[in-house]
């Protein structure tokens, strides 16, 4: 795995953590669902599933 790929995975992990933190801060359930849907592709990429 080349260095730039590893960096992209680190960036993906960072964004996933930020999205998860925003999910925890939200007070409206609609916004919580929105953050969760956005989070799923990042999780799947970190797990190397998609």
């Amino acid at each position: 795995m080349i260095v730039v790929t590893i960096l992209y995975y680190l960036v993906t992990a960072y964004i996933a953590v930020v999205i998860a933190a925003n999910f925890l801060k939200r007070k409206k359930w609609q916004e919580e669902v929105l953050y969760l849907i956005v989070l799923i592709p990042f999780i799947l990429r970190l797990l190397r599933l998609k």
């Binding site: 999910f23 969760l36 799947l44």
Partner: protein
């Protein structure tokens, strides 16, 4: 509020698990191959370039050797796995061909990584099944490009090596834009390099890359030939068009468009490089529902309408372009190219039997030429 967050997070986890399982099963669907009586041995692409050994693109190479010496021909299936007629025609060769003279090298998954993903946002089916007398064989749908799990990220601009021609950014993962490749490049470039190394080391005389094209693309129902192979392609085209019941044209490989197998393999190896295109309505931008039915029947009312408005480069009607027609065209084209080559170069002839022609594939169906892995002798099944 905490309980609500836990419930929503749990719902998200369920969605992620279901989606993840679906993607995992699609990526790891086993595709059995029962090598035919002509297969002398199965090598790996990594045998020719250790840089990809053991990796996703360490593809199987089915090597068929005739009793009489002759030339060597390489068939590439799965350069673009979303063009299934190419892979299926190669499958038929690996499971049925009996070489009489010379050697035939067959690769079913030239870009194996690209067989493990489908097009982002394309709503492709994850797989498709070819009906057989023993129940059917399921294949991974695949995509045009290597799976981003294996090569990521894409650059803003893709500069082809070694010409530095600027190509579309995602084509850095397109096997048919990365030839001749390089040993220290991306996975796709390394795979191209391995294929070129195979051609150089095995002294391949003719290389045939099997593809399909959308009907709105002008290079369709044709043999694209490097200048070294234009006589061969022209003669094969004439013979097919007069004897087989379908028309197949010829196109000259453009020198100004880089990275394609018909251009770079011809330029960087001693092989004559050819590329075959069959019609695949599934790929057309104006298609309707992008499902298994369209992939296998080639029937689509919207593409028929486009044809009535003169927007297509190939005919289409309500009968569509069934997979058996497309596979049969590739089979007959390969057989005719081998026959023409062998007549012209008797000391480098490659002659095979056991492979059905166009009319036979249409009559019996592609599935009639796929072998049942359950009844194959132990240890005789290989997985792509």
């Amino acid at each position: 509020m905490v309980l609500r967050k836990i419930a929503i997070a749990a719902l998200g986890a369920v969605l992620a698990v279901f989606a993840g399982l679906s993607f995992y099963h699609s990526r790891h669907l086993a595709e059995p191959v029962v090598p035919g009586p002509g297969v002398a041995r199965v090598a790996r692409l990594g045998d020719y370039f250790p840089g990809i050994r053991g990796g996703i693109n360490d593809a199987n190479i089915y090597i068929l050797e005739g009793k009489e010496p002759g030339g060597s021909v390489l068939i590439l299936g799965g350069t673009h796995p979303e063009e299934p007629a190419g892979r299926l025609a190669a499958w038929i060769l690996a499971e049925n061909a009996v070489p009489v003279k010379g050697r035939l090298f067959v690769i079913l998954s030239a870009n194996r990584s690209a067989t493990t993903a489908t097009r982002l946002g394309g709503a492709y089916p994850p797989d498709y099944t070819i009906p057989t007398a023993w129940g059917g064989q399921t294949f991974r749908m695949g995509d045009r490009w290597s799976n981003p799990l294996d090569q990521w990220p894409d650059p803003e601009v893709y500069l082809h090596y070694p010409t530095r021609q600027q190509l579309a950014y995602m084509d850095i993962r397109n096997l048919n834009r990365a030839f001749p490749g390089r040993p220290h490049g991306t996975l796709t470039e390394q795979t191209c390099w391995a294929i070129c190394e195979l051609i150089r080391r095995e002294k391949i005389d003719v290389e045939i890359d099997l593809h399909e094209a959308e009907l709105q693309y002008p290079v369709i129902s044709t043999i694209v030939a490097h200048e070294k192979g234009q006589d061969l392609a022209a003669m094969a085209s004439m013979m097919i068009s007069s004897n087989e019941g379908f028309a197949l044209g010829t196109e000259a490989s453009p020198k100004a468009l880089r990275g394609l197998s018909h251009r770079e393999i011809g330029d960087h190896t001693d092989a004559v490089s050819l590329l075959l295109e069959a019609p695949e309505p599934f790929l057309d931008a104006t298609r309707g529902r992008t499902g298994r039915e369209l992939l296998l029947t080639g029937k689509d009312e919207f593409i028929v309408r486009a044809g009535k408005r003169g927007l297509l480069f190939e005919k289409i009607d309500e009968k569509g372009w069934p997979i058996d027609v497309r596979v049969g065209r590739h089979c007959s084209a390969i057989l005719q190219i081998l026959e023409t080559w062998s007549e012209d170069k008797p000391n480098k002839a490659v002659m095979i039997s056991g492979v059905p022609k166009y009319a036979e594939v249409i009559k019996n169906g592609t599935g009639a030429y796929l072998k049942d892995p359950k009844t194959a002798p132990a240890g005789k099944v290989i997985f792509e």
